[in-house]
Amino acid sequence: MEYSIIENSPQQKTIYIKGQFTFSDSGTFRQLLGLLEDKKLQSITLDFTHVTFVDSSALGMLLLMREECELRHMRFTLSHPQGQVEKIFLISRFDKLFTIQH
């Protein structure tokens, strides 16, 4: 996967990811986890508009990020999942665990 970060404000960032999101992206995702160290940040959104596939380890990474955000009292939002991604979020009942924007 690839990603780009848009800083809407010092407190809010949106990360646009692209392509397939799988185990092989654990290193890349570690960089995204690193973003949470920014003390000013209050809210982070992961945009899935251009994500075509997620596997279960990707879901594991998202759950880890959720945990890290909770520790830091940070808002964490998943936005615009499509196709397989939307289906797997639904099946995993992610709507109960995350704020999901459609």
Binding site: F23, F53, D55, S56, G60, L63, L64, K87, I91, R93
Partner: protein, 351 residues
């Protein structure tokens, strides 16, 4: 022959007419006897057929009732499943099935999260190991310098001669310590390499666990949801059809019961026939008395013989040869038995 005192003559025309009447009555007497003989037989026929029909319909109704019961059992079976020694409804089955599926998906997510957590922890461990390896390289580099220093010290102590002897001993000890440090760092490097290899193996295992992608299994839930929904839909339709069928069968059973009740009113037929036969017998008896009186009171009146022409005409009215035969037998003086119809229908089983 002696005439009774009350005989009286009548005019010739009247005498002839009376004779004609009496001859006709003879013919109708025999026709009436045939009817009295045959009517009860038809009552028996009706009764036997009715009994037969009735018992067949009773069986049919019993069959329809048991079919309806079987249909209801089928409906009950369709709407539930056997689980061990417990019967659960389709509704309970669906809930159990979906909650089991959701439970396993939760487990998959739990494992995926833990696996990724381990991946990141191992990353950190490997980074620490790599730092330690750098430290050891530093130690070895410093140790090399120490060795060189010890060598220089040995050379310098030799040059100092006797005065440098004590110094040479220290230099030798430094050399030995350096060698020990060298050995130690060599063995530490070996150990760390082993740990590194093990951690890498663990990482690879973890990668395999996390990449044993469960998303396919998770997507199967969608199909299973669809399957369950279609199973329930099919069962509901089956239930509706079976229930409709059970109801239709019950209606049939009720209709059959009504038919049987209607049929059992054949009893009336028997009563009608009894009445008719009785009336015919009474008519015959009356005619007989009238004939007797005519013979007694009309001077010169002879016992009448049946009117042949009328007998032929009446015989033509019988369409069945059996009737014609009986009529002719009766005319020829052969007695016909008069059968009484079985009265009442109380031996017929009513619903």
């Amino acid at each position: 022959m002696t005439q009774p005192a009350t005989t009286f003559p009548i005019p010739h025309e009247a005498f002839q007419m009376l004779e004609e009447w009496l001859a006709s009555m003879q013919v109708y007497k025999h026709a009436s006897l045939v009817l009295q003989h045959q009517l009860p037989r038809s009552a028996h026929l009706v009764e036997d057929s009715t009994r037969e029909l009735s018992s067949r319909f009773v069986k049919l109704a019993a069959g329809a009732n048991s079919q309806s019961e079987q249909m209801n059992q089928l409906v009950e079976l369709a709407m539930s499943l056997q689980l061990g020694n417990q019967r659960i409804s389709m509704q309970e089955f669906t809930e159990l099935f979906l909650s089991t599926l959701e439970g396993s998906i939760e487990q998959i997510l739990f494992v995926a999260k833990r696996a990724m957590n381990m991946v990141y922890l191992l990353d950190e461990a490997m980074q620490s190991l790599s730092t330690i390896q750098h430290f050891i390289t530093d130690v070895q580099r410093i140790n090399k310098q120490a060795k060189l220093l010890a060598l220089n010290a040995t050379i310098e102590s030799a040059r100092a001669g006797e005065a440098g002897k004590g110094f040479a001993v220290v230099a030798e000890e430094v050399k030995q310590v350096s060698q020990q440090i060298d050995d130690l760092s060599f063995s530490m490097r070996g150990r760390i390499d082993t740990v590194n290899k093990n951690v890498s193996g663990g990482y690879e295992l973890l990668r395999q666990i996390a990449t044993a992608d469960m998303s396919g299994t998770m997507m199967a839930k969608e199909k299973l949801d669809g399957l369950i929904a279609s199973l329930i839909e099919r069962n509901n339709r089956f239930k509706d059809v079976a229930q409709a069928s059970a109801e239709a069968t019950q209606t049939i059973a009720r209709e059959i019961a009504n038919i049987v009740t209607s049929i059992q009113f054949q009893d009336r037929t028997s009563q009608y026939i009894d009445n008719s036969v009785g009336l015919l017998a009474h008519m015959n008896a009356t005619l007989e008395q009238l004939t007797e009186r005519s013979l007694d009171h009309v001077a010169g009146m002879e016992p009448p013989l049946p009117d042949n022409a009328l007998a032929v005409a009446v015989a033509e009215q019988f369409r069945l040869s059996e009737f014609t035969q009986l009529f002719n037998d009766s005319l020829a003086g052969k007695p016909l038995s008069v059968v009484q119809s079985k009265s009442g229908g109380d031996d017929i089983e009513l619903f």
